[in-house]
């Protein structure tokens, strides 16, 4: 018994246990609530997007928090995953009638393609650092958005038709998958909350396995002191690539889930503002803090929706919340106060 408790709540694994139990508990509560009473549509419509943003925020935390590199282009990876998934799901609609299986296929495809792009962009990641890297990821996000904005893809009985910049796709009784700035239209909505939770659990499993492994420790060593890590034989380029590619793949997975939750989706959804939004979730939750990321994403995603009744003022309030929280968390007076409280608790624990 003590052994089990130790593996679950020991110092090393406490955060992991909390993460998993938190997610599963929330899932059970929400499922029971949904079966017991009729939840308002506004609430149920938020469930899948929140799952998506939690996954992508966790993915970004891997890069920003654990690897210590700033990325301003994670919406780009989401977009790749999203539109890959739309294409795969649309193409395989007749071959794989089972929605669950098709969702699985689309999510895996989105994950892989996004991961490959992550590998591509990790070439500059290795050469640059700091703000220069941030701008490259920003540029990457813009490039992806503007490429998808110009893609036209459709299929009919003669096979796939693709055109770029101008819409030259003419179909005989077929279906458009991507139509430029209009994005994906008429997508089958096959995402659901349960899948979202399963994907969060998979993401948590991957991230915890990574950061508790040898690779994870090298990633953090490279973040804390690159030169010292290099001098004891850590292959910096390999560790940074690893973190970046995994993060990109997870972001693609989130994008895939997101895309298949809506019947229409425009590429402009994944713009610079979305990248920034995800970064805000991560910084709010605390860099390298996984549970913090989950909680802050949920709160910050739900907050503007809750404030909907305030209409025009909601984004203004959101902005003020961002500024004020940053001021408070960085104020030395507040920090001293917080330290005193934690000291109080610690003393009680020791007694």
């Amino acid at each position: 018994m003590k052994g089990i408790m130790n593996t679950l709540f020991g110092k090393k694994n406490r955060s992991r246990t909390i993460s998993f139990s938190l997610v599963i508990l929330v899932y059970i509560v929400i499922e029971i609530l949904m079966h017991a009473i009729r939840m308002p549509r506004l609430f149920t419509s938020l469930l899948v997007p929140v799952c998506c943003y939690i996954i992508v925020a966790l993915a970004l935390n891997l890069v920003v928090g654990f690897s210590g590199e700033l990325s301003l282009g994670h919406a780009g990876f989401m977009a790749i995953g999203a539109f890959t998934a739309v294409a795969v799901s649309g193409l395989s609609a007749s071959a794989v009638p089972n929605g669950m299986l098709r969702l699985f296929l689309s999510v895996v495809a989105g994950c892989i393609v996004s991961g490959l792009f992550g590998l591509l962009i990790s070439v500059p990641v290795l050469k640059l650092s700091g703000d220069y890297l941030a701008i490259v990821t920003l540029a990457f996000g813009q490039i992806i958005k503007s490429l998808i904005n110009n893609m036209f893809l459709g299929f009919d009985k003669n096979g796939l038709h693709f055109s770029f910049v101008t819409n030259e796709v003419s179909l005989e009784n077929g279906k458009m998958l991507l139509s430029g700035p209009m994005g994906a239209t008429d997508t089958a909505k096959i995402s659901n909350f349960t899948t979202g939770i399963i994907l969060i659990l998979i993401t948590l499993f991957i991230i915890y396995s990574l950061i508790n492994s040898k690779y994870g420790r090298t990633i953090m060593a490279a973040r804390d002191n690159r030169i010292a890590a290099e001098s004891i034989g850590v292959d910096i380029s390999r560790t940074k690539t690893l973190a970046f590619v995994i993060s990109a793949a997870l972001a693609g997975m989130a994008g895939a889930l997101y895309a298949l939750n809506y019947s229409t989706l425009q590429p402009s959804k994944f713009d610079f503002n979305t990248s920034i939004l995800i970064l805000v979730y991560v910084v709010f939750g605390g860099l390298g803090n996984i549970n913090g990321t989950i909680i802050s994403t949920t709160l910050l995603y739900v907050l503007p929706e809750m404030l909907r009744s305030l209409q025009d003022y909601r984004m203004l309030i959101y902005a003020v919340v961002l500024i004020v929280v940053m001021q408070l968390t960085n104020s030395s007076r507040i920090r001293r106060f917080a330290d005193r409280i934690t000291d109080l608790f610690r003393k009680k624990g020791e007694e």
Partner: protein, 293 residues
Amino acid sequence: MTFLTYLISGLALGSVYAIIALGYTMVYGIAKMLNFAHGDIIMVGGYAAFFAFNKFGLSPVVSILASILVCTLLGVIIERLAYKPLRQASSLSVLITAIGVSYFLQNGSQLIFGSDTKIFPAMLMEGSLKLFDGRLMISYLTLFTIFTCVVIMTVLTLFINKTKIGKAMRACAEDKGAAQLMGINVDTTISITFAIGSGLAAVAAILLCSTYPSLSPTLGSMPGIKAFTAAVFGGIGSIPGALLGGLLLGIIENLTKAYISTQLSDAIVFTVLIIVLLIKPTGLLGKKENVKV
């Protein structure tokens, strides 16, 4: 001849980018922060000029001065209230605060001015210069934009290199602690930097809005991102770099729009940026810092 037309209008667009990029690069150089709200200060500048000219019926020169004054004050106030308490905080906290300020300005002006697009009045000048028997037409506004950029660059370079405040700014950019020990008031110097950057944003706003005369609360975000790119392109922290980056970005953007594709111009501009950074990781004129262990 058409090539020359595109080149010159690209140069004008680049001049506007360069003026905005100056704000980014100066603030980055001295406060080591990415001021994401800079683009929105441009927007405020545009609205200020619009209201001064259209609603209060002031003369163009007074409107421009009013706009510059509003932006300068706004820049200083933002710095004092939002950024100054975070001097010791991590750069990401400052970044998020800047994003918060940006949201605040955007949504605040949406509430005050409404989200509809307003037409910016032609307050500067009209008409165009005809060269080569009318085969080459350059609007006076284009020439004025390029001229303004050159004047600003010259004055700013002289200011930074010759005056006492300029010297203080360079000292703060190099080492804040040492600058303080030498009796430089670091806080004031940073405030002055913000004031200059924001004032320049107002100038950029008027030039930009005169060329593309539509005014909306999200007006500043795309030029802001482009100018930020230009600053990094030229090497962030470097003033000649901002000029070079801005001009190149404007020219590349206009030429790709003219000869390759309008829709893909953003993608091409940013691809060029990535390639440049791969070859020169600190931008065109950026200095490489050697890390001592």
